[in-house]
């Protein structure tokens, strides 16, 4: 099965291609701000190296979030449009869910992505990959509470860097496997493709896990208050 995968929700972006022998080849962006610039060149390089054309792919996979809002959009738009242009099916996976792969008999997995101000997008998976804490937006303290009493939990994700102090006394995964990658997306996508779980590109939607701040402020009336305060300040002058 030939799957081209994109992962752009974290600090480094990556693209991966499953080779005919089942192995996965993967490339990373140079820096933290290069997701848009380098994603398609990486994908092209992978295809060229394997000597296959976009038409020979079985599917396009992407991690739909959560993570960086702009990063999510780069990956999802690239995957949607690539699938639209090449007539391929899409497979969307959660950037938290793909960390189930890291669970095993010897370790449970806690994933935390930094969502600032003590918040995370997080999940906790048991030794068999089952959910101890379902993927979602949480306070960091919620995740720490969920892992209490277990001694085989390993933490993953960029939240471990952002909340370094809170990680004291916790096991944190080595940097070589700490973050979400296109290879992890590809592995999950292979399972889903085998089960026939693909989507048409127009049904692949980002999973931000959070509404836009302005939307929340409009609904709870904060936006109106801010506007009034601004006008009142102006009147005093």
């Amino acid at each position: 099965m030939r799957i081209l995968s994109f992962e752009t929700t974290g600090q480094l972006g990556s693209a991966a291609l499953t080779a005919s022998d089942g192995t996965v080849k993967q490339l990373f962006t140079t820096g933290r701000m290069d997701h848009l610039k380098e994603l398609t060149p990486m994908a092209k390089e992978l295809l060229d190296e394997e000597g296959i054309s976009p038409a020979e792919l079985d599917a396009v996979a992407v991690s739909k979030g959560p993570g960086s809002f702009t990063g999510i959009r780069i990956g999802v738009t690239s995957a949607r449009t690539f699938a639209q242009a090449s007539g391929k099916k899409c497979i969307a996976v959660s950037s938290l869910d793909i960390f189930r792969q890291k669970a095993g008999a010897d370790r449970k997995v806690a994933v935390i992505f930094n969502a600032r101000r003590g918040q995370v997008y997080g999940a906790v998976f048991g030794n068999d990959g089952g959910e101890i804490l379902a993927p979602g937006p949480y306070m960091l303290t919620d995740v720490l509470e969920a892992v209490k009493g277990f001694d085989d939990v390993v933490f993953f994700g960029d939240g471990t860097d952002a909340y370094e102090e809170a990680m004291e006394g916790q096991k944190v995964a080595d940097v070589s496997e700490r973050y979400q990658t296109a290879e992890m997306v590809a592995k999950e996508a292979l399972h889903l493709l085998a089960e026939g779980k693909t989507s048409d590109y127009e049904n692949v939607m980002p999973d931000y896990m959070r509404r836009a701040e302005a939307e929340v402020k409009l609904e709870d009336g904060t936006l109106q208050k801010m506007r009034e305060a601004k006008l009142a300040r102006f009147k005093l002058r």
Binding site: I74, T77, T81
Partner: protein
């Protein structure tokens, strides 16, 4: 079999319109689709970047499909993909560029990044088939106010720029203060027709003699101070007179500077571009000023003034002819200068 014509698919998403178009050659528009978010941002009193980005993502693929369908072609017929790569809101730009790159890669089609400002000027090439550079151009939009001398299809010399607010930005801010809301340009233009432009005089700012730069924050502040002082004195404000007086001040400066620039450059024509070029008062005043000086005025119809993908397709076509393609390393350049032309080498080296 591939269409024999040279067809360009263009995508534009630099602010709050998601747009796609198909052109044959540089000037023949086969389809032009715009999905506007104005209704969404109206409730917020202006464009909210995060919300704009989210809507671009859900709109862009169907907008592209519709543009292809209306042109009666498929991606297999397309010879070139052009996309706005700056200036603009970064989160918005990203969507059009990611989509354009994915198509270019999937279909192995050359890709060109277009400076939005060259796009605005190019809307005139679509309407006026005989128009060719060099010429003098006044570009007025929500983000920019520039007088440029277009030396060729792909290069220009900037004669003047705004030192603070763009004209369209001043419109939006004044509209907010007199309670008209977003988008300010068309709302002030409409209300001003009911007002007396002479009733309230706002100071015109021309800067130093011979300068082609603009400053609109002074006019805007003049309006704010006037509104404030009237409110303080308990007097009602005639919003129509305020709108008309403000608009008169802005338009007068724009027209006079454009006419001076024409004289300085020895131009016998002026080409207008940008969203504010849809303003009725500006169109009328420019027409009469040009008539009196025997200068030919190029004024695109209104739908070509506001953001659209046809103009991007036109600019992409001429850039590709002159400079070749940019390839897959294209990125978003939110602060791209008005005269800059992005050029990317095969290994991703970027210059302008």
């Amino acid at each position: 079999m591939k269409d024999k014509r040279f067809l360009t698919l263009a995508i534009e998403s630099s602010c709050d319109e998601t747009a796609a178009a198909v052109l044959s050659g540089g000037r023949d528009v086969l389809s032009d689709v715009v999905s506007s978010q104005i209704d969404i941002h109206e409730k917020y009193g202006g464009v909210v970047p995060e919300i704009a980005s989210r809507h671009h993502l859900t709109a862009v693929n169907s907008v592209i499909d519709e543009a292809l369908a209306k042109a009666g072609v498929t991606l297999d017929d397309i010879s070139l993909v052009g996309v706005t790569c700056g200036p603009g809101l970064v989160g918005s730009l990203v969507i059009g560029i990611a989509a354009a790159k994915a198509i270019a890669m999937a279909k192995n089609i050359p890709l060109v990044g277009v400076n939005h400002m060259y796009g605005h000027v190019s809307s005139n090439f679509i309407q006026y088939k005989e128009l060719e550079p060099p010429f003098l151009s006044l570009i007025v939009s929500g983000g920019h106010t520039n007088l440029v001398y277009m030396e060729s299809y792909t290069s220009c010399r900037v004669l003047g720029s705004t030192r603070d607010d763009a004209a369209g930005e001043a419109y939006d801010k004044v509209a907010r203060v007199i309670g008209l809301g977003y988008p300010g340009g068309p709302k002030i233009d409409r209300l001003a027709k009911e007002g007396d432009p002479e009733a309230i005089h706002f100071k015109r700012v021309y800067l130093e003699k011979g300068s082609f730069d603009f400053s609109f924050s002074g006019i805007k502040t003049g309006v704010l101070n006037y509104v404030n002082s009237q409110k303080q004195a308990g007097r009602d404000i005639n919003a129509a007179d305020v709108a008309a007086g403000f608009q008169e001040a802005v338009v007068e400066v724009l027209v006079n500077k454009a006419m001076e620039a024409a004289e300085m450059t020895g131009s016998d024509s002026i080409v207008i571009a940008g969203g504010v070029a849809a303003n009725d008062r500006l169109r009328k005043e420019l027409s009469s000023a040009c008539d009196s000086k025997n200068i030919k005025l190029y004024l695109p119809e209104k739908r070509l003034c506001t953001d659209n993908a046809s103009m991007i397709g036109c600019a992409a076509y001429y850039k590709y002819q002159a400079l070749g393609d940019d390839g897959l390393y294209l990125d978003a350049y939110p602060s791209l200068p008005v005269d800059a032309q992005i050029k990317i080498s095969g290994d991703g080296e970027t210059s302008w």
